[in-house]
């Protein structure tokens, strides 16, 4: 593999990791507050569709992004009502949201655009612009530094936002009062309740943040990574993000590491049909399955233990 190919692979790693990173942080915040969310996939898909549809109709990608966030937050609220207000099964609610998005996006896309469940291709201002970092052009010809700097330059604003969300999430969770309470509500909601803080309010807050982040993931997917929505375009990214979250053991900085690893796997699988590793040919299917296999290994506790927030998955019932 020559240097130029390596730079290309790393460049697409960053782009492929972006939706995963948004979704992974989304799941992380929700689960830290004790609400399991396997509906990340559905929210990404719904946001991807509405972002592309509104961007196409209005010709303005940022209106599309807002619409994507809005629909994703709405789906989060459905999840919140089902799992917080009515104390339903959070996992079943997540499954329902995934199917709701898978079905509704195609039914509505077909109704609006009549193109077999996709949106028309986005061009011009309906597509997400890219930002060239300062001096990227001037440095391009400098050996080593030029190509390396080039990897980080020329991405959509949401790519940079995603990576900024990592310290922001860390700060929110570990350096603010809201974050402390949010983590407490995921470990011991009764204690938070006794302290006079609303468990329901905190959990809804976390679920709403999760919706915003999933909205960004979906919007980037359909307007930045590709140019338009196609049926089932989330393609399991919500589940990979979930895997990354477990891989990172619910910690923001580790989450970034995990999504970069999974992004790299995807970039390599897209670029090569098989990989020679230590004289052994790895078929492309192994690369595709690797994030899931690694997650199972982590979950099995063979490489350190992945312990979820203690109150995760159980609705909070006030004592009378």
């Amino acid at each position: 593999m020559d240097l130029a190919t390596l730079a290309q692979v790393l460049d697409s790693t960053l782009r492929l990791a972006t939706p995963l990173l948004f979704a992974c942080l989304a799941g992380l915040i929700s689960e830290r507050a004790g609400v399991f969310d396997i509906g990340l996939e559905g929210k990404i898909l719904a946001a991807a569709f509405l972002a592309a549809a509104i961007a196409f109709v209005s010709g303005n990608v940022w209106l599309g992004v807002l619409a994507g966030i809005a629909v994703s937050v709405c789906m989060s609220l459905i999840h919140g009502v089902a799992s917080i207000t009515f104390r339903g099964n959070q996992l079943i609610s997540g499954v329902a949201i995934n199917f709701l998005a898978a079905g509704l996006t195609v039914v509505i896309a077909q109704n609006w655009f009549q193109q077999g469940g996709r949106t028309p291709s986005l061009t011009g201002d309906a597509r997400m612009p890219t930002i060239d970092l300062p001096f990227a052009e001037a440095l391009a010809d400098v050996p080593v530094i030029g190509p390396v700097y080039g990897i980080f330059s020329g991405h959509a604003p949401l790519v940079y936002l995603a990576f900024l969300c990592v310290p922001a999430t860390w700060f929110l969770l570990f350096r603010t009062r809201f974050g402390l309470r949010l983590r407490a509500v995921g470990e011991n909601p009764a204690a938070v309740d006794t302290a006079g803080v609303s468990v329901i309010g905190l959990r809804f807050g976390a679920v709403a943040i999760c919706g915003v982040l999933c909205g960004l993931a979906g919007a980037y997917l359909s307007t930045g990574l590709s140019a338009g929505f196609v049926k089932d375009m989330s393609a399991g990214r919500g589940y990979i993000a979930l895997a990354a979250m477990i891989f990172a053991k619910w910690r923001p900085w580790h989450a970034m590491g995990a999504v970069l690893l999974f992004g790299l796997l995807e970039a390599v699988a897209n670029r090569f049909q098989s990989i020679e590793l230590f004289g052994l040919a790895l078929p492309v299917q192994v690369m595709q399955a690797l994030p899931y296999i690694l997650t199972v290994v982590i979950l099995a506790g063979f490489v350190g233990r992945a312990i979820p927030p203690r109150a995760g998955g159980s609705p909070y019932v006030k004592e009378h």
């Binding site: 104390r87 339903g88 079905g103 077909q110 109704n111 979930l242 399955a289």
Partner: protein
Amino acid sequence: MNGKPIPKWADVTLVPLVSVVLAFIISAILIWAIGESPWAAVKMMVDGAFGSSYGWGYTLYYATNFMFTGLAVAVAFQARLFNIGGEGQAALGGLGVALVVLYLPWPHWTLALLGASVGAALFGALWALIPGYLQAKRGSHIVITTIMFNFIAASFLNYMLVNHLRPQGSQDPSSPRFPDATSLPKLHEILGLFGIPFSKVPPVNISLLIAVALCFAVWWMLWRTRLGYQIRAFGESEPAAQYAGISPARITIIVMLISGGLAGMMALNNVMGEQERLVLNAVEGAGFIGIAVALMGRNHPFGVFLAAILFGFLYQGGAELALWTGIPRELIVVIQALVILFTGALDNMVRIPIAKLFSLRRAG
């Protein structure tokens, strides 16, 4: 739930019925919103699914798939285990069927069916065994591991088809056709023995009878055997079951083996009965529909049987809708999602008002 009892008959009929009606009302609003008539759509679906023996054939074919996967989810739910892995287990069941049918010489379909059943159940069960073992022994959450195993199954199957099962020179990632001797009798041939005419087109086959028999077998296992008692006790309360000498690890693993085996046996219907070869993505989401079917059927084999027929109707009716109107097939996915949402996650939203009504009536 919160101390307000609902009579048992209402719990098993009224609560799911209200949930389904709510799901259908929202679906009707959706159909209306995209500019089609809900009434005409319902009429077309009923005609398409039940109006002819052709429609019935397809309805029952789909229902057969959903009985297998619905039973798989229901058995696991009885032990409070949420097996989302039906999709992957059914895919692996398909691989089991293909290997047994392609690589062993079968003189007659009856023997082939027996062998394929073992292959399908074994592969499905093994695919569920790993998540089951990890839950039982290492505490890994079964929902997450079974999701991961669905994806691993898809990649594994892709690999097997492309690199091993695909005949030389073929571009299509699918196995060779199964030998003629292993072709399963279709429902029209079975009914023909009794002189009942039935459409020859639909792929509904003898697997339907196996699925129905399995509904009885699972009911028997759950309510008439010691194992079933242990499964239900474990599902009701793990500490109580443990106190009564039931090993949680043992029950978890056994339940997942049964569940995976049932999901795997779906391959008898779609792989051996219909396609007669193994193709990519043969399961087509039937594993997930099993979740909706089990929730709606209140995890009871008889309920699963009825819910499977309802979803068979939705699938066949939905296909007719997509053929004749501007409503895409994905409408069924929306209905499926709403059924899961109302009967599964929003159960309390329906249950609490019904409980209030009953307590009002008792008071007054």
